[in-house]
């Protein structure tokens, strides 16, 4: 792994400054905010997956001592609260556009922060109860009498797309909100017509949830004098939360302030505004005092945005030698109870063909609503799903048509000289050495030595398998970011930026940038990200954008600080600016023993009365940039599993990862991100699932007793390697590193599982690969007549 840090500059594995605070309990999370006189809110949630709300009788609840108010959807409408502003498609111009193939607009219904006439999933908010204490609010919530008319429900993705499925919106013609065609239909059909081989997979990338360590919490305030709302709530970014909140409350953005300090996990789950974040400040205005709400864990399972849930049918066409000719199929994304986010569908389908040379491709991409919690982008939005499909198709083609799995990949993997390469959906991969990553991963995972390990495992009665998966990750996200650096004469540097750490270590890695460019010790850098009265612009943390965009605006700001500082230092040192050089935090006069520190220059800027206008005042600079080009991190993972065929249990024996990040700012943090990413991806493939009962729409995995979270002992020690092929579209050569761990993990894991079972004739195992699934796969394959075995 990494060497010990030799300095605190770019490229060094500097220990995270924030960790001591976080691991000694000194972090300040949303639930740590307590305001004088605050009341407490409890959300009354629908117990039904689909029900019309006939009436709500709050009289018994209001009669309980200590109850302040019971607010319903009717109150919300009469107070003029607006629907939650959705951005159903991505905010980035590099992502592909999707529209209905029949030319009609996608169906997007207004989603209010509370159910108004109908609850569309178990856990949807039906009323907000405000009381002196949480226990009183809970008692009152039980006393609220809601008259429900229970309606038929549908939860499963494919079922929801059927024309006769229970309908979530009466004014929509079906549950299908978007039905788009992407790629080239005719060229793809022609390629399939002349293919020597066609391999097909039908699979479901199941619904999972993010389970951030810190459950959501929010404290709302309203100041009647200034008519200003304040929300304290952890999120993926403060600015976006502020603007969305202002839209819901129907007030100008300046009348809203959002504050947050530490945020305990995001993964996309915390990326967008939640209904509670609007209900709490509204309730504070209604109650005339601050209102606090803290989500409990079972409530998180019910109401956190969930992830994945994509039903795929895909076919790959190959010629006789194994060269890929075309890819086609259908993706159906399940957006849950409200048609809010087509992003994962969009971000996935645009790179279905991964890093492989694919002359033609065509997909039908649909998004459906169902009686389940809403889904949103979830770590590596859409990409792990499609990488899994592509890598499964390759392994299936190899086993069905007699190709070597690795050779088949080598043959079709894009070579460095072919880049930039426009994939069949129009995405342009800029740069990278994909073959090098794969060869390094094969070596790191000791692919060559695997047969001996398989034989040895067999002697112990175990079935060992190995898998490989390449990946590409499209990083786009909100394109605009801003940084502002202020040098204080007392030796501190403030860095204001519109992206926030949800555990990624920005206090360290961003400070390393400042250390590199301004020579300031990292402990003197203060990162300001969670107060919208200071942070005015910024897109937040998602889609690998924090360091990718943050580095550039910090770099621009630092260069301007040096440029300004040089002119001030020239006055201070009585030299010509052209004779000054800035290094290690000092402006030096070349060839003379005269210099001034950055902070002396900052002091001079504040004191010298005769400076030109643009140099007077605090030594500060900002950069506000819009990034319209996507970035394409890539890599290759190799996984090895060992299966106990009697029980179907498995152990991950080895896991090796090579991820290219262009240029690593802090390799230790990157390795950590990859480790977590692998656990998140393999967790899905191995055990996680939000399981909705198909009949009732009840969520049966609403606690840790039933939702299988992977734990440390489910994994071996990971072997991770970073490569640094500079990204040609990034001024500093960087590629994002936060999602690559997850993106190939689903595919590489299932490939290893199926390889372990190959001798039985098992063709495929669906996710999650639970012990029973594996046990059944073995049993069914044994029972099948040999002719039925696809080998």
């Amino acid at each position: 792994m990494s060497h010990a840090a030799r300095s605190t500059r770019i490229g060094e594995p500097v220990r995270r400054r924030e960790d001591h605070r976080l691991i000694t309990g000194a972090g300040r999370f949303s639930d740590d905010v307590t305001l004088p006189g605050q009341a407490y809110a409890v959300m009354l949630r629908s117990p039904h997956a689909h029900a019309r709300i006939r009436a709500i009788d709050s009289r018994n609840a209001l009669a309980l001592p200590g109850v302040i108010a019971v607010l319903t959807g009717a109150d919300l409408r009469s107070d003029g609260l607006k629907p939650i502003p959705y951005n159903p498609f991505t905010l980035h111009p590099a992502d592909i556009r999707m529209s209905n193939s029949d030319g009609s607009p996608p169906f997007v219904a207004p989603c209010y922060s509370m159910a108004v006439d109908r609850a569309r999933y178990v856990g949807e908010i039906v009323a907000v109860v405000i009381a002196q204490t949480t226990p009183i609010a809970k008692d009152a919530a039980e006393a609220v009498d809601v008259d429900y008319e229970v309606l038929p429900a549908v939860t499963r993705t494919v079922a929801a797309a059927q024309p006769d499925a229970p309908r979530l919106w009466d004014d929509a013609s079906s549950n299908v909100c978007l039905d788009a065609d992407v790629g080239a239909k005719d060229a793809t059909a022609a390629a399939f017509a002349r293919a020597a081989h066609v391999v097909k997979i039908e699979t479901w990338i199941q619904r999972v949830t993010g389970v951030p360590m810190e459950p959501r919490a929010a404290v709302g305030e309203y100041d009647a004098a200034t008519q200003r709302y304040t929300l304290h709530a952890g999120s993926g970014g403060a600015v976006r939360l502020k603007t969305d909140l202002a839209k819901i409350l129907g007030v100008p953005a300046k009348n809203v302030r959002v504050l947050m300090d530490d945020v305990g996990g995001n993964f996309g789950t915390r990326g967008m505004i939640y209904p509670e974040f609007a209900l709490v400040p509204w309730a504070a205005r209604r109650a005339g005092r601050p209102v606090k709400w803290t989500c409990e864990r079972h409530e998180s399972f019910l109401s956190d945005f969930q992830g994945r849930d994509l039903a795929v049918t895909a076919e790959l066409a190959l010629d006789a030698q194994g060269t890929f000719l075309a890819l086609r199929g259908s993706n159906i994304g399940n957006s849950g109870g409200h048609p809010g986010s087509f992003t994962p569908l969009q971000k996935g389908v645009e790179i279905m063909s991964s890093l492989y040379r694919m002359p033609a491709a065509h997909f039908r991409a649909r998004s459906v609503v169902s009686n389940t919690a809403p889904t949103r982008p979830y770590r590596s939005s859409g990409r792990p799903e499609v990488m899994y499909v592509m890598e499964r198709l390759i392994d299936l083609a190899a086993s069905e048509f007699g190709f070597d799995r690795v050779e088949l990949r080598r043959r079709n993997l894009l070579k460095q000289g072919e880049l930039p390469y426009t994939n069949p959906f129009g995405m342009i991969y800029d740069s990278g050495d994909y073959h090098d990553a794969m060869e390094k991963a094969l070596k790191l995972g000791d692919w060559a030595g695997f047969p001996a390990r398989r034989t040895e495992a067999r002697r112990r009665g175990r079935r060992r398998g190995i898998g490989i998966a390449n990946y590409v990750d499209t990083a786009t996200g909100a394109p605009r970011e801003r940084a502002e650096i202020t040098v204080h004469p007392d030796g501190r540097v403030d860095l204001v930026i519109g992206t926030i750490s949800n555990g990624q270590g920005h206090e360290t890695s961003f400070a390393q940038l400042v250390n590199e460019w301004l020579g300031v010790p990292i402990d003197n850098v203060r990162l300001i990200t969670g107060d919208t009265d200071i942070v005015k612009v910024g897109g937040g943390t998602h889609s690998g954008r924090s360091m990718r965009m943050g580095s550039v605006v910090i770099w621009n700001s630092a260069r301007e600080i040096i440029a300004k500082g040089t002119r001030i230092a020239a006055r201070l040192l009585e030299s010509d600016p052209s004779t000054l050089r800035f290094e290690n935090g000092r402006f030096r006069v070349e060839g003379a023993d005269r210099s001034a520190s950055l902070f002396e220059v900052a002091a001079a800027a504040a004191q010298l009365g005769d400076l030109p206008e643009d140099l007077r005042g605090p030594l500060a600079a900002f950069s506000d940039e819009t990034f319209n080009i996507a970035s394409f991190p890539y890599g290759c993972h190799v996984c090895e599993v060992e299966i106990d065929p009697e029980l179907g249990t498995l152990e991950i024996a080895r896991y090796s990862a090579v991820d290219d990040v262009g240029r690593a700012v802090n390799p230790m943090i990157i390795h950590g991100q990859v480790h977590g990413g692998i656990a998140q991806g393999v967790g899905q493939a191995l055990m996680e699932q939000c399981y909705y009962d198909p009949g009732t729409g009840q969520l049966l995995t609403a606690s840790f007793m039933d939702y299988s979270m992977p734990r440390a002992d489910n994994f071996p020690f990971f072997s991770t390697e970073i490569t640094e092929v500079p990204c040609t579209t990034h001024p500093l050569g960087m590629r994002p590193a936060g999602e690559g761990g997850t993106t190939p993990a689903l595919g590489v894991f299932i490939n290893a599982v199926v390889d372990a079972l190959a001798d039985y004739g098992v063709r495929h195992v669906e996710m999650p690969a639970t012990p029973e699934r594996i046990w059944r796969a073995i049993r069914d394959a044994r029972a099948a007549p040999p002719a039925g075995r696809a080998r």
Partner: protein, 269 residues
């Protein structure tokens, strides 16, 4: 959590007096299942009587060929006890595999068997060893104690004081955990006693149960090979999102074989 009155008696008599006449009272014997249920408002009682201060209910002792464990002895103490390790190492291992360290330090044997969770570990040990449950009123054979899902032979107001385990010739417990909770999906306790072989299964059915066909086969020959061809009918077993009855039935046989293997190895050492 709903409001309740909390009591902490210092003696069994005091506890009995506190329970008497109250029909909405619950004994607190560690609370590792009860407290979460209260917190989630899944259970509601007017009074909780905490047995944690009654010293007479704690401790481990050997009486001839019997191991006696006080009802309020926490799992961690059983797991670490030299006395248990000498007499019934399989029981020490079982206790050491329950939940996590927090559960093992708070949870007690009496609380576990009184709760009779269908996937708990202790019921397998108690039934597998043919233990005797001693209460404030009588002694109950393990075979008569577990009646069904969260249901035991205990009468209202009856308090478990100790469990008496006969020392076996060989025993072992093997658990195949449910991946989320890590409770048993199929847990099998096998014991070779002077009078025969007992095989108890937890996690697979609505309540801990005896695998009689396996017992008969193992009585003839206490060896994994004796279970060749033996199956368990899935008809009365549990099916849920984690495992079907059919899969559980298969796992029970595998775990039984592995438990016999482990017991044989332990005995040989």
């Amino acid at each position: 959590m709903y409001d309740f009155d909390y009591h902490r008696p210092g003696s069994l008599d005091e506890a009995a007096a506190m329970i008497a006449g109250k029909d909405d009272v619950k004994l607190l014997a560690g609370g590792m299942s009860l407290i979460p249920a209260l917190k989630l408002r899944l259970a509601r009682y007017s009074d909780l009587v905490d047995l944690g201060a009654i010293d007479a209910l704690k401790g481990i002792r050997r009486e001839g060929n019997t191991l006696v464990i006080g009802a309020m002895t926490p799992h961690a103490e059983v797991a670490a006890s030299a006395e248990v390790a000498r007499a019934i190492p399989a029981l020490a291992a079982l206790a050491g595999g329950i939940g996590d360290p927090l559960v093992r330090n708070r949870g007690t044997i009496g609380g576990s068997i009184a709760n009779a969770d269908p996937a708990a570990d202790y019921p397998a040990g108690v039934l597998g060893l043919g233990a005797t449950i001693v209460t404030s009123r009588r002694e109950i054979a393990a075979d008569d104690f577990f009646l069904g899902l969260f249901e035991t032979a205990l009468k209202p107001g009856e308090i478990i004081t100790a469990v008496r385990f006969p020392v076996p010739q060989a025993a072992a417990y093997c658990k195949h955990p449910q991946p989320a909770s890590r409770f048993a999906l199929a847990g099998v306790f096998v014991a070779k006693m002077a009078g025969g072989v007992r095989v108890a299964v937890t996690g697979a059915g609505p309540s801990v149960l005896r695998f009689e066909q396996a017992e008969a086969a193992l009585a003839k020959k206490f060896d994994p090979s004796a279970l060749e061809g033996i199956t368990l009918a899935p008809d009365d077993l549990n099916s849920d999102i984690h495992a079907s009855a059919e899969y559980r039935a298969s796992c029970v046989v595998v775990m039984a074989r592995r438990a016999v293997q482990r017991a044989s190895e332990a005995r040989a050492r």
